[in-house]
Amino acid sequence: MTLEHRAFMYGELQQLLDTAVPWLREGVERDEKVVVVVRETGMNAVRDVLGPDGKDVEFYPSEVFYKHPVRTLRDYQGIVQDARPHTVRALAEPVWHGQSPRETREWARYESLINVAFEHSGARALCPYDQSVLPQEIIEHARRTHPKFARGEDTLHNDSYVHPKDFGNGCDSMIQLVRPRHAEYRTIESDDLHDIRAFVGERAVGHGLDTTVARTLVTAVNEVATNAVRHGIPPMGLWIWSDDRDLICEIGDNGFWHADPLTGFLPPESALQRGFGLWTVRLLVDLVELKAGWDGTFVRLHVRR
């Protein structure tokens, strides 16, 4: 069962309702699992127009559902799994305002990853984009991350669509890792990482993280450092610093890890599956950036202070 992943450009709420509500109703009639994730402003309108047809529909405000792209993918995966044998139909509108360029890039990547993560799920997703307020950059992303467009009741083929691997490569090429001079450095000598953990834990608390967040960061750092020791080329090391928003840990080695652009984004089936480690790291911290080049492989972990 293939995925149907369509973008829908609208300018007024009424247009959204005219297209989305009959589509949602169709899902209810077909006994699909119907989910509505829209911004709070549109939620009540969708609910009102659906009326009694919406009694089995699940509603989530976008502001709550779209906080962290990798966690949102995990949550959608949970919905798809729980719904089986029914398929899922989701009206899915991410949040695009108040983001740093980095965050916007990761949410665009997320839209692209949907095509791989749910490729064989039979799910249908309709993603509304409010053209009246969204910057052109976001609309451009939408064109490159959705294989189809919805216009009224019609579905149009989208020639601008880019395969998620290519889109991911594009995102990765935008990553610039500049390290401030005041970053503290520790070398990583072996997979006995007790001292590195103690150091990161102490600095994390010193930079204002609470103990649970600090512990979680330590777990993530440990995993990335273990990978560097196992697969990287010495010297391996860790830098830590903070800016006005985040605490940042970067683990580097001298090797060249040409990672698949989908690595660690897609939820594994279980802890036994390859990729469980990096996927968990992505879940545990706010943002992971990975960059491999002539000077080595660098994995940067961001945690909001």
Binding site: H194, T216, E223, R230, A271, L272, W279
Partner: protein, 283 residues
């Protein structure tokens, strides 16, 4: 009631002058502790004195004892008088004197005295004798004693009184111990307790200990107590899932108590990431 803080000491750390109490949960725990005690003694050239039901009983840790180094004191040799704890303990003390005369530097004594608790007035008689033993051993520079009692056959009050009579509680030797991680066998329930920190540098150690445990227990449940684990890495979580998967069809791997760090990780990724693992109900 007088509060008593017993010193807990692994078998291998017992020293001459120690009069230690073992309250075992089952035969397996008894064999583990007594076996370590006897084995270490025979390996070091000590004298081992062992109280058994019969003179032909198998002694844990001594499949082929060197002649003369292991003395058995058999309960069935007392013709009914054995039911006086004092008579039996006198016989043990006599064996100790003989070993001293023979010039042994260290003399190890161990006796399962559960039967004595169950005699009329048993506990009272026993405590009197234990006091004599305590006074005889504490100043000794050669004798180490372990008094064994089966927890299943003693009331909490009796166990409390026995604790009062012994300065030291002996516990099993850790399966592994270094400055970062300690792995301890548990017997009630069957499993392991992990204390300290676990990262990739010690995966092989845990894998080895788990494999030994799995092969020794015939497919029953394995419980892991992780409450003392300050850190567990994602690779170790993967390993636990792997052990659970390999045991499909046998008793499950049960996580009894989790450290906060482990719980946070699992709540983030979802417990379904650990198929085959069971969480005990008390958490």
């Amino acid at each position: 009631m007088e509060t008593l803080v017993s010193v807990r000491r692994p078998v291998r750390e017992l020293r001459p002058g120690d009069h230690a109490l073992l309250t075992f949960a089952n035969d397996e725990e008894q064999r583990n502790v007594v076996g370590s005690f006897v084995r270490a003694g025979l390996a070091a050239g000590d004298k081992v004195i062992y109280l058994a039901e019969t003179a032909h009983a198998r002694v844990p840790g001594a499949p082929n004892p060197p002649p003369g180094r292991l003395s058995m004191v058999a309960l069935d040799g007392f013709n009914g008088r054995s039911f006086q704890p004092r008579v039996v303990l006198d016989a043990l003390v006599e064996e100790i004197r003989r070993a001293e005369d023979e010039g042994y530097g260290t003399i190890r004594v161990t006796a399962d005295m559960t039967w004595a608790v169950r005699r009329p007035n048993g506990l009272e008689l026993l405590l009197g004798s234990e006091l004599r033993i305590e006074h005889a051993i504490a100043p000794s520079t050669s004798v180490i004693a372990i008094c064994e009692y089966d927890r299943r056959h003693c009331s909490p009050e009796e166990l409390g009184a026995l604790h009062q009579a012994h300065g030291i509680v002996v516990v099993p030797d850790p399966e592994f111990e270094d400055s970062v991680l300690r792995i301890v066998r548990t017997f009630d329930p069957t499993g392991l307790a992990l204390i300290g920190e676990l990262d990739a540098s010690r995966h092989m150690v845990l894998d080895g200990v788990l494999a030994r445990l799995v092969s020794s227990i015939n497919g029953s449940e394995i419980h892991l107590d992780l409450s003392g684990l300050g850190f567990i890495d994602l690779g170790a979580i993967n390993m636990l899932a792997d052990v659970a998967a390999r045991r499909a069809g046998h008793g499950p791997l049960v996580l009894d108590r989790m450290s906060p760090q482990f719980r946070t990780v699992m709540e983030t990724v979802g417990w379904h990431m650990l198929p085959g693992l069971r969480l005990s109900d008390d958490q």
